[in-house]
Symmetry: C2
Subunit: 354 residues, 2 copies
DNA sequence: CTGAAAGCGCTTACAG
DNA sequence: CTGAAAGCGCTTACAG
């Protein structure tokens, strides 16, 4: 049977017990209860136990608003990404969430839609919420509002893209090396005319990938080929198809991110060219379903889980004031996952039930 | 040049201005400032304007912790899903996030990993954070902790799966009808032995889909076929392959969710059976890349954006105490997206650049 | 329409 | 080791 109206301790029902309630039950001063819940050392074994018993009995949980008002941490961090539904960012979100939780933190998630104005508004909203720190995939790494935020004192870690206009930590991926590895692989296959299909080429991340691609062509002494910048998808399709049907058509394509890869696959599907046979393909960003396609897609895999975990860890360290260099740029390695679209043979063609 | 140490208003630098600071600048009592920021009617035009000017001048933002301590809303809601990285849930998260933001709300996202214990802990953490309401995809709709939460007074809306042990709002999808439409389509194609491949069949959502499938077989006067329950993937593959190679092999498969569909595609890939020709396939849940496969996959599309938006809206209404029936179950329709895996012809086989 | 007082539930000094 | 006091920045009564 439920207690109605009052608990046996004289507390109103439906109202959360307070620190004072605990003090009354444990027959100590509120101060002492506060010491116990903050693990302050100067409390005698005996009283500490009485207090803990009272806490359990009342199912007491400290009121966070009151603690925050006294300058304590909120135990929450913000994560602002361009698009929550994008597989790359949702994989990062997953890891951030897990890391935060393992440390007693909660994550406030928001999407900037790659719009800097939006992003600025979100940062402000989060700052005033408040949160203890912000994890951000910057929509535009040169925006002034980032300078303001970075110098405001709230811990800030950039993910995937470095902030160019302020001193802020970042966790990134070795984009240049990854791109080079992918393009080199195409070169090994004997490809001569490797075209780059790029999207969001204003982002430093993508610029690095393009740079890696060009660097590799240079090293291989191949003539610099065209880089196709996808802005409008429909238009890009026209351009790419024209290119593919032209006399000097490319024998390989390097795509700079997953949506460029998918867009390219879709286009090639509409022609009678077969990927891997008529034109090789290597894409930056690996996506689960690439294994289900025929041919399966060779891709440069980014360590999304590590991106999320490392950045969340770094942010928490900043929040707790751990000793750290003034500015940390963590660069994670990427892997080339060789499948078939580059021209390689299928590796596991047999059913595995035999 | 930056002010150092002090603002010209005599405020310490680096410290956020308070309501009292605004009052001092506007030469009114703190109470009056409070009235202005809460849009209280009894303030004269004149003073209100002075106060607003002071607010702008100081760039004042109310301290949320202090407001919450006084019983105000936090303007935050929690969203607890089984898996943040899953495309179905991340699509829902996206919509929830957008809807929340449009209403000045912030979303705390967490993953239960489909573990009820985990979920209970998260709900508690969120409740004490605190948040104004909770959006939940229940890991197990019969768990007692849900009864506790639902009766604790905090607004709670279940997404995708109804809570069976408490009176709580929910936003779901017409699973039975969707399954029936998919299976009926297979029947129209003349399929006689339609096997159901189910995953997580303990969930009411999946049970409904299986029920729809069975209902359809009954109506079509087809003998009830086997339902394959996938728990361990490797084992399921063995069973399915054996079934497909048997004498009474199915001529069609109905999969109850995206991961069952993908698993099935993967298995069929390893046999010499061709989807759409040797065995038809219709899956519940639509996924972007289904269009990129050959054959493309016929699927029952769930309105993920609407699921997220509707549930967030409903929760906000509950939070604001809007007049509403005591219990709302919103059932959204689903669409059968016909492509090729069911046996239909490709609809748009031509390149669209002509 | 405006304001002085008390209090939300904690914590940080300051005494003992 | 323990506690009484003041205060964090707001809001809700209560007066005028």
């Amino acid at each position: 049977m439920k207690n109605l109206g009052k608990h046996h301790d004289g507390l109103k029902f439906g109202k959360r017990p307070t620190l004072e309630d605990v003090a009354r039950v444990a027959k100590v001063a509120p101060m002492t209860v506060s010491r116990v819940i903050t693990n302050h050392p100067y409390v005698s074994q005996n009283t500490a136990e009485r207090v803990r018993a009272a806490i359990l009995q009342l199912n007491y949980q400290p009121n966070r608003a009151a603690r925050v008002l006294n300058g304590q941490l909120t135990r929450s961090i913000a994560l602002i990404v361009p698009d929550v539904a994008d597989r790359f960012f949702s994989a990062i979100s997953h890891a951030v969430q897990e890391t935060a939780r393992a440390n007693g933190y909660v994550v406030l998630l928001a999407a900037s839609n790659n719009d800097p104005e939006n992003e600025a508004a979100l940062i402000e909203q989060m700052t005033y919420h408040p949160v203890d720190g912000i994890l951000l995939v910057p929509a535009d790494s040169k925006r002034k509002h980032l300078t303001v935020t970075a110098s405001s004192g709230i811990p800030l870690v950039a993910i995937d893209r470095r902030i160019e206009v302020a001193k802020a930590d970042s966790v990134e991926v070795n984009n240049r090396r990854g791109a080079r590895a992918g393009v080199e692989h195409l070169v090994h296959h004997g490809c001569k005319r490797i075209v780059c299909v790029a999207q969001n080429s204003q982002l430093p991340t993508i610029r690095e990938r393009i740079a890696g691609y060009q660097e590799c062509l240079r090293r291989a002494k191949l003539p610099p080929a065209k880089t196709l910048h996808v802005t409008d998808e429909a238009e890009a399709k026209d351009v790419l198809i024209t290119l593919l049907l032209s006399r000097r058509r490319p024998d390989a394509l390097f795509t700079t991110n997953n949506s460029a890869t998918i867009c390219t696959i879709d286009i090639l599907d509409r022609t009678d060219m077969k990927i891997g046979r008529d034109v090789a393909l290597v894409g930056f960003d690996d996506v689960e379903f690439y294994t289900l396609l025929h041919p399966s897609i060779t891709a440069i895999r980014q360590p999304t889980a590590e991106l999320g975990e490392t950045s969340a860890r770094l942010l928490l360290q900043r929040i707790h004031g751990d000793p750290l260099p003034p500015q940390v740029h963590s660069i994670l390695p990427v892997d080339l996952i060789i499948r078939e679209s580059c021209g390689c043979e299928r590796r596991d063609p047999l059913p595995n039930h035999t």
